[in-house]
Structures are given as C-alpha cells and as structure tokens.
Symmetry: C2
DNA sequence: GCTGCGGGTGAGCGAGCGCTTAGAGTGCCC
DNA sequence: GGGCACTCTAAGCGCTCGCTCACCCGCAGC
C-alpha cells in the first residue's frame, strides 16, 4: 500500500518504512541477532549493543522484546505476499508466472536470508494473538501460489494430481532455502532461483 | 520393563539403546520439550518435570543440558543415515531406490516429527565440536541421495542438469516436512511420503 | 535565559536460569 | 549387620535475564 521506493538490487533495506531512525537501527540489529542465534538466545543487551545504544533505549521504541519480533515478522510476511502477488498478477502463461513467482521468492529467501530466517523460523516464539495475525498472512501466501497452479491446470499447461499438496511442496521448497543458503557458498541467489524455478516446473509437469 | 525394543509402528521408540531407564526417560522428555519450545526456551526444570524427576536428577545422567541435545542429535542423524543407506542399497532401478529413499525419509520426518524437528532445527544450538561431528553425518546423508541420483543419470533413467543442486533440493524438500507437518492434519505420513516420492521423480525427469 | 519535552543513559530490581552440594533411601556383597 | 555404590532429592549458589526508574542532554518557543 506504500509508495514504491524499491531499488534495483532491492532487498537490502526493506526497513525504510520504520521510523524514527533509532527505532530502525534497533530493528535491523534485532533481525541480525535473531537470525544468528535465535529469538530466545538473543538478549536485549545484545540488540541494543549492535545498534550502538544502551539496553534501556530499546524500551523507548518498543514495549517488549516480543514486539520487535512481531514487527519484523509482519513486515517480512507482507513483503513475501507482495512478491508472490506481483508475480501472480503479471501478464503471461501460468508457466511463466509460476517460474517468476518461484525464482523471485527464492531470491528473496536466499539474498535476504537473515530476514527470511527470522520470518520463517521464529513464528512459534510469538504470543497467540501475534501468531494468529501472521498465520493469516501465510494463508495469503499459500493462496497466491495455489492460484497460479490452478490456472495452469485449467489451461492444460500443468499436470498436477494433488493441487493442495503440490502447493505445499512448492512453498516448502522455497522457504527451506532460508535454512541452508550460505552467503559464502558457491551459488548466488539468482542461480538458486533459476534452478528452483526449473525444478518446480518439472514438479507440475509443465511442458 | 524389559529390553523389547522395536515395535511394528517402529518410529515411536528409537531410544531403546539409551540406558538406564531414567536416562532414557529424561532424553525422551527433552526431545518433546525441545520440539515444542526450542532448545533455548526449554529449562532443565521442565525436562526433569516431564520425566517425573527433580531438576538435580538430570545431572546424574548428563553433564549439561547441551549434552542432551548432542545425544539426541547424534542418534537422530544416525537414524537418518540408516534410513537412506538402506533405501540406497536395496535391489532395483535408481528410480525405485530414489522413490523408496524419499518416501521412507519423509515418513520419518512426518511420523517422528517431534524428533526430526530437534534434529534438523537445533543444530546451531550445539557447540563447535558437537556441531562438527553432526555435520559429518549430514554429509553422509547428502552422499547417499546424490549417489542414487548419479546412478540414475548414468543409467539414463534421469535427466538432471545440476546433480548437486537437485540433491540439495530433494533433501531440503524432505527435511522441511518436519516444519509444517501436522499443522494441516489431513494427511498421514504415508500419504505425504507417496506424494513427495512422485514429486521428486518428476524433478529428476524419471520416466 | 528559562522551560518543556522527546530521546537517551547508568544503575539496578525481581525472577528464573543452569548447575552444585550435602545427604537420604535402597539393594548387594562380604 | 556393616560398608559401599548407585540413584535421587531439597535447598540454594552465582549469574544473567527482561525490564524499570531517576536523571541528563540538546533544542524550540517565548
């Protein structure tokens, strides 16, 4: 819903909407710390230290440590929905749209692995209310991918016996990239995106 | 209770090798607690309580909380290697062996989701030495699957442009089952195993 | 120059953590 | 029956956690 401030490289700074500056620095520090050590193993002192502030400064901008995780998770999931929705709504065949959805979603998980890790693996650390809100966003993610696959089946482009199961598998494959992707490894996010788009097209039996 | 280990259902009690009885009860309690809340969010008091013992009893059988995780992780990884090695060494075409490897590996992740979660997602909570040991087992897991895929390519059964990348994707798909399974209660481990075996055969271009 | 105010700090609170210690209960060999 | 080894507990140590509080600083309005 916000104006596009997107750069070409793109995914390094999706936190532009967070103000004021100190609140953003704390949030970025929290993302790094949560991704490295996990939510429960991260201390508020560590977060504040990474942001160059005292532990008490955190509580001027956020009520609790959990609110930080909630904010990160919501912004991240909104970005994920945005990526898939954009791909789903472009012009082209279902095959082209699915390839674009998978490759851009994978690029996001690989390139922004720090953020993606927190978004995908720290859901259980949220309280019930926050978790329910995030789960609603996840259902939107699922619906976008399922929509493309259904389009492909209707158009006769895909051969998919089990649409919900295949949707689950496609998303699972993309999400797990955040777990194993290594910045120092031999593959770039672009290469993984391309490989995965090809594998997914095979999974749906696209010609 | 005696040493009657493996039941027909099989995956509920792979902890028969852990003795004495109290040590096994503590370990099973730790698996449940780690899977539910994560390693860092689990307290030694919680583990001991689930096993019906006092907090101090834990330290008679294990030196530290981390040793519990280490033991769980090693036994779980050994089981994973065992499952894949068994599938890889059966008689049959590469297609049959890959299908068997994927379906049994997925069945283990889905049915023993509690254990699999700890094994797959708490690796970073281990210290450097323990992590190094576990990573060696993971390389064996990778090698088993890659071996089957290479066999299939050589035999002309598979069409795989990128063997290491496809191996990674196949394992990633199976492992991520531990994250999402039972959130959607409508599938049995057997059904997911069958679905995934089919999807993987499509990924490798099997006939 | 004084005041009000939003963003910041140093010190520290109560709680809960991983882990230890002193000692009790139980079975076994002599 | 006495000594010993093993298992387990009640109590609690030292520490670090998330979070709070009393106070400070730079700056805009008057």
């Amino acid at each position: 819903m916000s104006a596009a401030e997107e750069t070409a490289g793109g995914e390094a700074a999706p936190w532009g909407e967070v103000t004021p500056d100190a609140a953003r620095r704390l949030l970025v520090a929290a993302v790094e710390a949560f991704a490295e050590r996990g939510y429960h193993a991260t201390t508020t002192r560590d977060i504040a230290g990474r942001a160059g502030m005292s532990p008490a400064a955190l509580y001027i901008h956020y009520k609790t440590k959990e609110e930080l995780l909630h904010r990160i998770s919501r912004i991240g999931h909104e970005k994920a929905v945005d990526i898939l929705r954009t791909a789903a709504q472009t012009e082209g065949t279902a095959t082209e749209r699915l390839a674009e959805a998978v490759s851009s979603f994978v690029r996001w998980h690989a390139g922004g692995r720090t953020t993606a890790r927190v978004v995908q693996y720290e859901l259980d650390s949220l309280g019930p209310d926050a978790r329910a809100e995030i789960l609603a966003l996840r259902r939107q993610v699922d619906a976008e991918v399922r929509g493309i696959i259904e389009d492909g089946v209707e158009a006769g482009e895909f051969d998919v016996p089990d649409v919900p199961g295949t949707t689950l598998a496609v998303l699972s494959l993309c999400i797990d990239v955040a777990r194993w992707f290594n910045v120092n490894g031999s593959r770039t996010p672009d290469e993984v995106g391309e490989l995965y788009a090809d594998l997914v097209l095979r999974m749906v039996g696209a010609g």
